[in-house]
C-alpha cells in the first residue's frame, strides 16, 4: 500500500462526511415541516485491494440515504383523518343549524309556539277584546317569522354547503392531478435508483390532504407509486387519473360522481361526506319534520277555527285562520290580519261564547301528530339534531385523540430530533476533522520521503 492510498481514503472520508453533514442539515432545516420524514445516512466500508498480500480496507462510503417512515401508521392516520374530518365538519354544520333555532330562549320556536296557543287562552277570557284578538294575530306572525327564518337559514346553509363541496371537489381534483405527476416522478426516480425521498414526502402530503376530504383507499406498489381509489371508484395511478364532480339528483340529494357521471362514489367519511350528510340528511329531514308539524298545526287550527263565528256584524263562519303552509312559509289569513274581529272563538255565534278559543288553546296539549303534542314534535326535531351534534362532538374528540396519538407515533418515527441531529453533526464533524488530519499526516509522510531524495 502506497502513501497515496492514505490520500484516497482520507479524500473519500472527507466527501462522505460532508454528504452526511448535508443530510443532517436537511433534517435540521425540516425539523418543523410536518410532512417531512427524517433521512438517515447509510455508510459502508470500501472493500480492500485483494491484489496485495494483506487486505486492508479502503475507507468509508455513503451507500444510501434512508427515509424513515412507517407505512402502517400512515394507513391508520389516513383512516382516522377521514373519520375526524367527517365528524368535525358535521359537528360544525350542526352547530350552525342549532344556532338557527335560538334555543333555549324566549326567542326560540318552542316559546313562540307556547305563546301562540296561550294567546287563545287569553282571548277566551274576553272574546270581544280587540287587543287580545290582535295579540293572537301578533303571536301567529311571530311564529311565522321565526319559522321562515329557520327555514331560510337551512336553505342558505344548504346552498353554502353545496358551494363548499364544489370547492372541496376542486381541491380533490387538483390533488389527484398533482399526485399523478408525483407518481410518475417517483417511478422514474426509483427505476434509475435515484433518491425519491422528497417525492415520497410530497406523495404522502397529498394523500393526507385527500384523506381529509374523502374516504380514500391507497395501494403503494413496489416503486412507491400510490394507486388511489375514492369510495370504490378509481382515482389515480402513475399513468391515469380521473376528475370528479358534484351532481344534484332528482330528489335534491348531492352525489359525488366521476366527471362523466357514470360512476358514483360511495362517500363514507371525510369533510365532503360531512357536507353531503348535512345536505342529504340533516337539512331535508329537519325540513320534512317542520313541514309535518306546521301542516298539522294549520290543519287542526283551521279545522276548529272554521267551525266558529266571528264577532263581526253579522257573524261569519267557515273562516280559516291560516291561509296555508308551504316550504317554511306559514301564511295567516290576510282578512284576519286586516280585521282581527274575524277571528272565530264563538261556537254558537254569541259574542261571549269562548268555547272555540278554549278548544284552540287545548290543541297544544293534544297528541295530534305522531302520537305527541306539537311542542313535543318540535322538541324531537331540535333534540335529534342536538343529539347528533353531541354524537359528532364525541366522535371529533375520540377520532382527534386517536389521530393525535398516531401523529405522535409518526412524529416519533419520522420526526426530526434536533438533539439527535446535533450529535450526528458533532460525530460527522469529528470524523471530517480526523480525515483532514490524516491528509496532513500523509502529506508530512510524503514530504519526509521526498526530503530523502
Amino acid at each position: 500500500m502506497g502513501i497515496t492510498k492514505l490520500f484516497d481514503i482520507s479524500r473519500r472520508s472527507l466527501l462522505t462526511y460532508q454528504k452526511a453533514l448535508s443530510i443532517t442539515s436537511n433534517n435540521v432545516a425540516n425539523a418543523n415541516n410536518p410532512d417531512y420524514s427524517r433521512q438517515r445516512s447509510l455508510f459502508s466500508n470500501v472493500g480492500p485491494d485483494y491484489r496485495t498480500n494483506i487486505a486492508i480496507g479502503s475507507g468509508v462510503q455513503l451507500t444510501d440515504v434512508e427515509r424513515i417512515r412507517d407505512q402502517i401508521l400512515d394507513r391508520q392516520s389516513w383512516e382516522y383523518r377521514q373519520n375526524y374530518n367527517s365528524a368535525q365538519k358535521q359537528s360544525s354544520i350542526l352547530a350552525n343549524i342549532e344556532s338557527l333555532f335560538s334555543e333555549p330562549s324566549e326567542q326560540g320556536m318552542s316559546a313562540l309556539l307556547d305563546q301562540f296557543f296561550n294567546s287563545w287562552d287569553d282571548l277566551s277570557v274576553d272574546p270581544t277584546s280587540s287587543a287580545l284578538r290582535s295579540n293572537v294575530v301578533y303571536a301567529a306572525e311571530n311564529l311565522s317569522v321565526k319559522l321562515q327564518n329557520v327555514y331560510e337559514g337551512m336553505t342558505t346553509l344548504r346552498r353554502d354547503l353545496k358551494k363548499d363541496s364544489q370547492v372541496l371537489v376542486g381541491d380533490l381534483n387538483n390533488y389527484i392531478t398533482e399526485l399523478k405527476h408525483i407518481n410518475k416522478q417517483i417511478y422514474e426516480a426509483t427505476v434509475v435508483n435515484k433518491g425519491a425521498n422528497d417525492l415520497l414526502d410530497k406523495r404522502d402530503e397529498l394523500l393526507n390532504k385527500m384523506s381529509d376530504i374523502a374516504n380514500i383507499q391507497v395501494n403503494i406498489d413496489e416503486y412507491g407509486v400510490a394507486n388511489v381509489s375514492i369510495g370504490g371508484v378509481f382515482a389515480v395511478d402513475r399513468v391515469h387519473s380521473i376528475t370528479f364532480d358534484i351532481f344534484e339528483e332528482s330528489n335534491g340529494k348531492l352525489a359525488l360522481k366521476t366527471e362523466d357521471g357514470n360512476s358514483k362514489v360511495a362517500l363514507q367519511s371525510g369533510e365532503l361526506y360531512g357536507n353531503f350528510r348535512s345536505v342529504n340528511e340533516f337539512i331535508p329531514e329537519a325540513k320534512e319534520q317542520f313541514d309535518d308539524l306546521f301542516n298539522s298545526i294549520v290543519f287542526h287550527v283551521n279545522q276548529s277555527h272554521s267551525q266558529g263565528y266571528s264577532t263581526t256584524d253579522p257573524p261569519v263562519t267557515g273562516i280559516d285562520f291560516f291561509e296555508g303552509y308551504s316550504n317554511g312559509v306559514l301564511k295567516i289569513n290576510k282578512d284576519i290580519i286586516d280585521d282581527p274581529q274575524l277571528i272565530a272563538v264563538s261556537k254558537d255565534g254569541t259574542n261571549g261564547n269562548n268555547e272555540l278559543a278554549l278548544e284552540l288553546a287545548k290543541l297544544q296539549h293534544n297528541n295530534l301528530l305522531n302520537g305527541s303534542t306539537f311542542a313535543e314534535n318540535y322538541a324531537n326535531i331540535v333534540g335529534s339534531l342536538a343529539s347528533e351534534k353531541q354524537f359528532q362532538d364525541q366522535n371529533t374528540e375520540t377520532f382527534g385523540l386517536v389521530l393525535n396519538q398516531l401523529e405522535q407515533q409518526i412524529s416519533s418515527v419520522s420526526g426530526v430530533s434536533i438533539d439527535e441531529e446535533m450529535i450526528d453533526v458533532l460525530k460527522y464533524q469529528r470524523s471530517y476533522d480526523a480525515s483532514a488530519k490524516l491528509i496532513s499526516i500523509a502529506d508530512e509522510m510524503m514530504k519526509t520521503v521526498l526530503q530523502m531524495i
Partner: protein
C-alpha cells in the same frame, strides 16, 4: 421511545387547545349564568327545559285568566247581593203590608215604591263590566232583561242568557266563571238522567211538577215523553189547576245520537232550553233538557229552582197593590223561595271565587317548584364554575410557562 421536536409541539398544542376549549366553555357559562346555552349542551336537558317553559307559560296564562275572571265574578256576587238585599226588603215590606192596621193608601203607595224596586232589581240583573252584561250568558253584548212596552212583564234576550263562560285554570280543567241570568233569575225545570233507547215506539212516560203563575195560582204541570221513532221523542205538555187538565198545543222534538246517546237536536237545531209561556195563566218558565241522554233504562230526574218568574211575580203584585189588593200566600212563597234560591246562587258564586283563589295559590306554588326545577336544569353552579375557571386559567398559564422554558431548548443551546 424516540422523541422528536415536533412531538413536543404536538403535545403542547393539543394541551393548549384542550385547556382553551374548556376555558371558553366555562367563560360562556359564567357570563350567561347558564349551563345549557344551546341544545347540544344537553339534548335531554333542553327537552326538559321546553316542557318546564311550556308549563310555566301555561301557569302564567291560567293565573292571568283567573285574575281577570275574578273581577267580573266579584261584580257578579256584588250584584246578586244587592238584588238579594232588595228582595229581603220586599219580603219584609210585603209582610208588613199584610198587617190589618195598614191602610189602603199605604198599600197603593207601596205599589209605586215596588215599581222603583223592580227597576232597581232590573239594574242589578243588567249589571255590566266594560259593556259586558254579567248575567247575559255568552250573549253578553245584549241587555238580558227588559220590561215590555206595557211594563207588565219582563222580556228576556231572545238569544238566551244561559250560556256558561269557562276559562282554563289547569291543563284539563275548565272552570265556569259566570252566573248565568237563566240560573239566577229564571224559573227553570231541569230534566236529567236517561231515557231507555230500547223502549217500543209509541211508548210514553210523564213527569209532573207544581208550577206557579205570576198571580200565585199553582198548577200541576205535566210533560209527556212519547217515542216517535228510534232515538226520537216528542214532548207534549198539559197543566191542571185542580179544575181540569188543559193540553198545550206546543210540542217539541228531541233527537239523540244513535251512537253516543247524547242529545243531538231540539226541534232540529242545536240543543237549547224549551220555553213554556202561557200568558193567559201568567206561566213563564223554561225546561232544560241539556242533561238528558239515551241509554239502556229510563231514569229521568227533575228539579225546579223557583216556582215562578220573580220579575213577573213582582210586577203582578205591583199591579195588585195599585188596586189595593195584597199579594197572596203563594206569591209570597214564590218571593221567599227566590230569596233562598239567590242566596244559594251567591254561595255558588262564592265557591267559584274560592276555587279560583285556591287555584291561584296552587299555581303560585307550582310556579315556584317549576322555576326551581328550571333553575336546576338550566343555571350554572356559579361557584363551581368560577373555581373551575380559575383552575383552567392556572393550567393555561402553567402551559405557557413550561412551553416557553422547554420548546426552544435543544442541544444547540449548550454547544
Amino acid at each position: 421511545m424516540r422523541v422528536s421536536d415536533r412531538q413536543l409541539q404536538i403535545d403542547y398544542l393539543r394541551s393548549m387547545n384542550l385547556t382553551k376549549s374548556r376555558l371558553g366553555k366555562l367563560q360562556e357559562q359564567v357570563t350567561t349564568g347558564k349551563e345549557i346555552n344551546r341544545p347540544s349542551d344537553s339534548p335531554l336537558g333542553t327537552s326538559r327545559l321546553f316542557k318546564l317553559s311550556n308549563q310555566l307559560g301555561n301557569i302564567t296564562t291560567f293565573r292571568d285568566n283567573i285574575e281577570r275572571a275574578q273581577t267580573s265574578l266579584d261584580m257578579t256576587i256584588s250584584s246578586m247581593q244587592g238584588f238579594q238585599s232588595e228582595i229581603q226588603d220586599v219580603i219584609s215590606d210585603l209582610t208588613g203590608l199584610r198587617n190589618p192596621t195598614v191602610g189602603d193608601n199605604n198599600i197603593r203607595a207601596y205599589s209605586d215604591k215596588l215599581d222603583l224596586i223592580i227597576n232597581q232589581l232590573l239594574d242589578y240583573a243588567n249589571a255590566d263590566v266594560d259593556g259586558k252584561y254579567l248575567f247575559g250568558g255568552t250573549d253578553d253584548s245584549v241587555k238580558p232583561f227588559a220590561l215590555n212596552s206595557g211594563g207588565t212583564a219582563v222580556e228576556i234576550n231572545s238569544q238566551g242568557i244561559g250560556g256558561e263562560r269557562k276559562i282554563r285554570i289547569a291543563k284539563n280543567i275548565d272552570q265556569k266563571v259566570n252566573m248565568t241570568g237563566k240560573e239566577v233569575f229564571e224559573s227553570v225545570w231541569k230534566q236529567s238522567g236517561t231515557i231507555d233507547s230500547s223502549a217500543a215506539i209509541g211508548s210514553t212516560f210523564t213527569k209532573t211538577e207544581k208550577i206557579d203563575g205570576a198571580d200565585g195560582t199553582e198548577y200541576d204541570f205535566t210533560v209527556t215523553y212519547t217515542k216517535t221513532a228510534d232515538n226520537t221523542y216528542q214532548l207534549s205538555y198539559s197543566y191542571d189547576d185542580g179544575t181540569g187538565s188543559v193540553a198545550l198545543a206546543q210540542t217539541n222534538e228531541l233527537v239523540f245520537d244513535a251512537t253516543t246517546g247524547e242529545l243531538e237536536t231540539v226541534d232540529g237545531s242545536d240543543p237549547s232550553d224549551i220555553g213554556i209561556n202561557i200568558s193567559g195563566n201568567k206561566i213563564d218558565f223554561k225546561i232544560d233538557v241539556s242533561e238528558l241522554t239515551e241509554s239502556d233504562s229510563t231514569s229521568v230526574k227533575t228539579k225546579l229552582n223557583v216556582k215562578a218568574n220573580i220579575f213577573n211575580t213582582l210586577l203582578d203584585i205591583k199591579e195588585n197593590l195599585a188596586s189595593g189588593r195584597l199579594p197572596n200566600d203563594e206569591q209570597l212563597a214564590v218571593i221567599n223561595g227566590f230569596n233562598a234560591h239567590i242566596l244559594d246562587e251567591i254561595s255558588a258564586a262564592g265557591d267559584i271565587g274560592r276555587r279560583l283563589e285556591n287555584t291561584i295559590q296552587l299555581l303560585d306554588s307550582q310556579e315556584l317548584e317549576l322555576k326551581d326545577l328550571q333553575s336546576k336544569e338550566r343555571d350554572v353552579d356559579i361557584m363551581k364554575a368560577m373555581v373551575d375557571l380559575e383552575s383552567q386559567q392556572f393550567n393555561l398559564n402553567l402551559g405557557y410557562k413550561i412551553s416557553s422554558m422547554i420548546l426552544p431548548k435543544s442541544l444547540m443551546d449548550f454547544l
